[in-house]
């Protein structure tokens, strides 16, 4: 199997602001969010990073998508280093989180073209891709509607389609179903299955066991910024992912949840 994402000893420490210390009621001034994380995801599979709140999932995915830099370690996406070639990495990945928003004023049609241009996609290729993706996901009828007037489900579809405007090999998705109702969540999970069917590699993070069980081929359990277990769903979950997770958690933190 071909490795498409490889993280090697990623580490990230944040300095906590006074405000953050107050909110979290802590005297610490530094927080190690990701602590020597290594894992590999293979081409064509859906890899799930599973972890509780504050485990460092978002931080890890932000490092992989080159939005923030690791203090130590490196990661390679399609062979490009996130430290040395961040711009190349950005062209081979599609990154999606609920924090990345589309300007409500523009139409899906305009935004698709704009982000296509931002990734340097040829005009002709772009037009063809737009037609294909818009038809496939039923966006064509809404192509000229301002994004702010779209329903949540349609907006989610548009965001998903735009994140793959440049036909990236890897799609990185932070908490894909967080805060979505069941219908919209289904739009997203169906989309991910479609992407897999198109031969894309997907890396997602979540704290929802059922999502991992439903979608992922392989899973990495992340606790306190470290990888606690990694393998196929079968290897890690042994039939019951939830129990397996709590056992891991207990073994590492020494506390019963």
């Amino acid at each position: 199997m071909e490795e498409i994402v490889r993280a090697e000893g990623l580490k990230k420490t944040f300095t906590l602001s006074k405000k953050q210390q107050r909110i979290e009621r802590t005297g610490e001034t530094r927080r190690v969010a990701v602590n020597g994380l290594s894992f590999s995801a293979y081409r064509g599979e859906i890899y799930g990073l599973l972890g509780p709140n504050g485990a460092g999932k978002t931080t890890t995915l932000r490092m992989l998508s080159t939005l923030i830099k690791p203090d130590e370690g490196d990661a390679f996406l399609c062979g490009h280093s996130i430290v040395k070639e961040p711009e190349k990495v950005r062209d081979v990945i599609g990154f999606l989180t609920s924090e990345l928003k589309l300007e409500g004023f523009f139409t899906p049609d305009y935004l698709f073209d704009f982000f296509g241009a931002m990734h340097g996609v040829e005009k002709q290729v772009l037009a063809e891709r737009k037609k294909q993706l818009f038809t496939r996901f039923g966006i064509d009828k809404f192509a000229e509607v301002q994004v702010k007037n779209l329903s949540t489900g349609m907006l989610q579809k548009v965001s998903l389609v735009i994140s793959i405007v440049h036909d990236p090999a890897v799609v990185i998705f932070d908490e894909p179903t967080n805060g979505l109702d069941v219908l919209t969540a289904k739009v997203v999970t169906d989309f991910l299955s479609e992407l897999k069917a198109m031969g894309k590699s997907i890396l997602l993070s979540t704290h929802i066991f059922s999502l991992v069980e439903k979608l992922c081929d392989r899973v990495g359990v992340i606790i306190d910024g470290k990888l606690a277990a990694e393998g196929t769903l079968e290897e890690v979950g042994k039939g019951d992912l939830e129990t397996a997770f709590f056992d891991l958690y207990h073994a590492i933190k020494g506390e019963i949840v």
Binding site: R62, L67, R90, K101, E103, F105, F106, Y110, F114
Partner: protein, 372 residues
């Protein structure tokens, strides 16, 4: 291609949103309307034909020429005998009468031994009075220099208006530039950061410097439009408001204008850059607005102060915005402050480049973009 897409997006955002266009052009329109209404109220009637009531003392055939000229233009002219000059002056000042025309003894019979004199007293603030002044002065002048014309205005003269304008115009222009830059830049930079749409662009492979410039260039162009609209608002309403038309600007050389224009143009990106940097640093539009308002008040106060310090030192060219104010005054006062303008333009460009560099750094800084 990425850079062009960024620039186009910014223009598209602005020019396809009537709301934004209106907010940008509104100040100019409002200024024009208010000043025009004010001007009409202050300036009184707007009729094209006047009824002149002119106090006359002494005798001359010229009066007949003036009368014919006035009447052939559709005006009515009524001569009143000048009995008490004080009373007549008060009447002119209050608008009851138009002017006082006083010829010296034996005006027409002048033979070269002694120069004759004609006194013309009017009120520059009154349209009818100014009109009569212009009319009779031009007729009198056709008689050549055989006599002295002594004219006197009872209130603010054009010259005084012009002087006030040279003081206040640069300051007004700075205000317009600042508020125009503020309205677009805050929304576009702080707004995009707050709404999370800036982060979406940062995930693409566009260069950070291109993203920074992709904001600065179009926002500067749009701000210039806004500033221009406000400026036109003033320029067009000035004749009504002050009785001064910006025609006096026509008296300067082309070079003065080019200098002035370049200087103003170079001030806009600097102000946009400053507001954009503040916006990038702020967490929300609200925060950015608060900081920018402080910046704006500060700029206005110093440019107002500079406008009224008559002989400010040359060091002032090193201070952005202030240098523009001072050079503008210089140009309006009829000077051609070449090296000051060039230094000013050069420095503005240098400061702008620094700000673009700073913005690029900010966009690459995870603390600023993703800080908690």
């Amino acid at each position: 291609m990425k850079f062009m897409a960024l620039i186009k997006k910014e223009f598209h955002r602005f020019f396809h949103d009537p709301r934004l266009i209106v907010t940008m052009l509104l100040p100019g329109i409002i200024i024009f309307l208010i000043y025009t209404v004010m001007g009409n109220v202050i300036g009184g009637s707007e009729v094209e034909t006047y009824t002149f009531k002119v106090y006359l003392s002494g005798q001359s055939a010229v009066t007949q020429v003036i009368e014919t000229a006035a009447e052939s233009a559709g005006h009515t002219l009524e001569w009143l005998p000048l009995e008490d000059e004080e009373e007549a002056r008060a009447a002119v000042k209050s608008g009851e009468a138009t002017a006082i025309l006083a010829f010296s003894e034996n005006f027409d019979g002048f033979d070269g031994a002694e120069r004759g004199e004609v006194k013309l007293i009017y009120d520059a603030m009154e349209q009818a009075s100014s009109f009569f002044y212009a009319l009779s002065a031009s007729i009198l002048e056709q008689y050549g220099m055989r006599f002295a014309i002594v004219s006197e205005s009872l209130s603010t003269d054009d010259a005084i208006g012009v002087e006030v304008m040279t003081q206040i115009l640069p300051f007004l222009l700075v205000c317009f530039i600042f508020s125009a830059c503020m309205s677009v830049t805050l929304e576009s930079v702080a707004g995009e950061k707050e709404r999370g749409t800036l982060a979406t662009i940062l995930v693409t492979s566009a260069k950070r410097s291109h993203i920074a410039l992709g904001k600065l260039v179009p926002l500067s162009c749009i701000s210039m439009l806004g500033a221009l609209s406000s400026f036109l608002g003033v320029a067009l309403s000035m004749p009504k408001l002050m009785g001064v038309s910006l025609g006096f600007l026509g008296g300067y050389s082309v070079w003065s204008y080019i200098l002035l224009l370049v200087l103003i143009l170079s001030t806009v990106p600097l102000v946009v850059g400053a507001i954009a940097s503040v916006s990038a640093l702020s967490r929300s539009v609200k925060e950015a607005t608060a900081y920018t308002s402080v910046l704006m008040i500060f700029t206005m106060v110093i440019s107002l102060v500079a406008a009224f310090i008559p002989a400010i030192g040359d060091w002032v060219v090193f201070i952005p915005v202030l240098n523009a104010v001072v050079v503008m005054q210089g140009v309006l006062a009829g000077g051609l402050p070449v090296w000051q303008s060039l230094v000013g333009v050069g420095l503005n460009l240098a400061y702008t480049a620094l700000l673009v560099f700073a913005m690029t750094k900010m966009l690459s800084s995870e603390k600023i973009i993703f800080g908690k």
